[in-house]
Amino acid sequence: MLRFANPSFVLRFAARAIPIFGALAALLLAVGLYLVFFVAPADYQQGETVRIMYIHVPAAWLGMFAYMVMASAALGTLVWRHPVADAAQKSAAPLGAMFTFVCLVTGSLWGKPMWGTYWVWDARLTSMLVLLLIYLALIALWNTIEEPQRAAKAAAVMTLVGLVNIPIIKFSVDWWNTLHQPASVFKTSGPAIYGSMLWPLLIMAVGATFLFLALHLMSIRNEILRRRLDRLTRLAASANDMPRTARFEAAQ
C-alpha cells in the first residue's frame, strides 16, 4: 500500500489504469443505455419517465460513493500524511458534487410529471441537496487555503466531521419531512424493481462507478502535476540565476 504514496508510481499506475476503467465504463454504459431504452419495460404507474431512474439512482449512489472515497482519502491524509491522499481527497470533491448535482436535476425532472412542480422538498432529494452543499463548501475550502498541506488537513477533518453528520442529517431531514407532510402524495422511493429493471440499473451503476474511478484517477494525476509545477515554480523563483525564464500561467 505504501507504494501508492509515491507520486511517480501513481502516475505510471494511472497511465495504465485510466484507459482500462474508461473503456469498461464506456462499454457498460453503452450496454446499459441500450437495455434501458430498448429492453426495460415502462412502469405501469409512471409510464416512460421511469427510465430517468436509470441515471438518477446511479448518480445518487455515486454521490455517496464519492464521499466515501473522499473520506478514506481524508484518513490517508491525517494518518499517513502522504500527498497522494491529499490529491485523491481534493479531486474527489468536484466529481462527487457533479454526480450529486446530476442526481438532483434528474430527480427534479423525474418528479415534475407527478408533482406538477420541479421541486418538492422530498426527504431523499433534500438530503442529497444538503450533501451537495457539503461538497461545494469543501471545494470552496480547497480554493481558499493556498498552502497545500494546510488545506489538505483542514479539508480532511471537515470531510470526516461531515461523514459523521451525514446519517444525522439524513435522519433529521426524514423526520422533518414526515413532520410537515402527513402522507407524502407519491413516495418517490421508486416503483418496485423487477428483475427486468434491476439488470439495467445495476449495469448503469457499475458503469458509472468505473466512470468515476477513471475521472478520479485523471484528476489525481492532474493534482500531482499541479503540485509538482507549483514546487518547480517556487524553486525557479528562489534560484537567482535561472537558465531559462520560467513561464507560469496561474494553473490554479
Binding site: T49, I52, I55, H82, R231
Partner: protein, 55 residues
C-alpha cells in the same frame, strides 16, 4: 410515450450528458495545460523524481 414524458427523459439524459462530458473535457484540458506548463519548465512529465518522491 406521451409527449411531455419524452421531453423530460430527453432533458434528464441531456443534462447528465452535458455534466459528464463537461467534466471529462475540463479534466483533460487541465491535464494538457499542466503538461504544457511543466514542459515549458524543462521537466518531462513522467520524469522520476525519486529525490523528493514525498513532495
Amino acid at each position: 410515450m406521451s409527449h411531455d414524458h419524452a421531453f423530460f427523459i430527453a432533458l434528464s439524459y441531456g443534462v447528465t450528458a452535458i455534466a459528464v462530458i463537461g467534466t471529462i473535457a475540463a479534466i483533460m484540458l487541465d491535464h494538457r495545460r499542466l503538461k504544457k506548463a511543466l514542459a515549458a519548465m524543462g521537466v518531462t512529465v513522467a520524469a522520476r523524481d525519486d529525490g523528493q518522491h514525498l513532495d
